[in-house]
Symmetry: C2
DNA sequence: TAATTTGGTTTATATTATAAACTTATTTAC
DNA sequence: GTAAATAAGTTTATAATATAAACCAAATTA
């Protein structure tokens, strides 16, 4: 009947992060922050969770002299997102 | 960009309850319990939250001598569900 | 050189979801 | 007839989660 929803993706901010990265393939921390409207602290925590799960990869580099955190979705993340969307459909009365 | 997700509906069990009631218009507590696979305690709590929010109405009646709790969705609940689905679409890359 | 901004991380708190424990009444089994 | 089991929930305790506040380091600007 209802498919279980991946708790890692069933979170407003983490879902927004993954959604962004699915379209963009790569995004910098401040850009994600701006697009999602999240606080830096919250974003940092959620990015870390997605990273630990292997849904995204995080590259810490530099842009000139300033630190720059780049996030990318992984194949695991793409698969998880697709599965989440399919599971969601069982709740939304979509054929 | 991303529309905020109604926290009352962004919950696996409450979303399942609403989803059921959208289709069924009326359902008894044990039926919802069976369809969602929830424990009675969890279901009781979530039904109460939806009821307090006015998303569903709860009628406590009897079936023969046994108590029988009937749940129905309200117009408020229908509106909220539709809005939630629209908001979700901003995360799912659906046009 | 003092203040502000940038780019975050860590930690504390408040909320939430969830199940365990409990209650009350009704059947069913002996 | 009474003891055990089932039905239908509710209340309470716990564990997980989301979130923002506080913090840190370096670079830039005043």
């Amino acid at each position: 009947m209802f498919q279980p929803l991946d708790p890692l993706l069933h979170s407003e901010l983490r879902l927004a992060i993954i959604s962004l990265l699915i379209s963009a393939e790569e995004a910098e921390f401040p850009y994600i922050k701006e697009q999602t409207g999240a606080t830096a602290g919250n974003l940092s925590v959620q990015v870390d969770k997605l990273s630990v799960a292997g849904y995204i990869e995080v590259e810490k580099t530099f842009k000139g002299k300033r630190p720059c955190t780049i996030c990318r979705i992984t194949p695991t993340g793409i698969t998880a997102f697709k599965a989440y969307v399919e599971a969601l459909k069982t709740y939304l009365n979509v054929k």
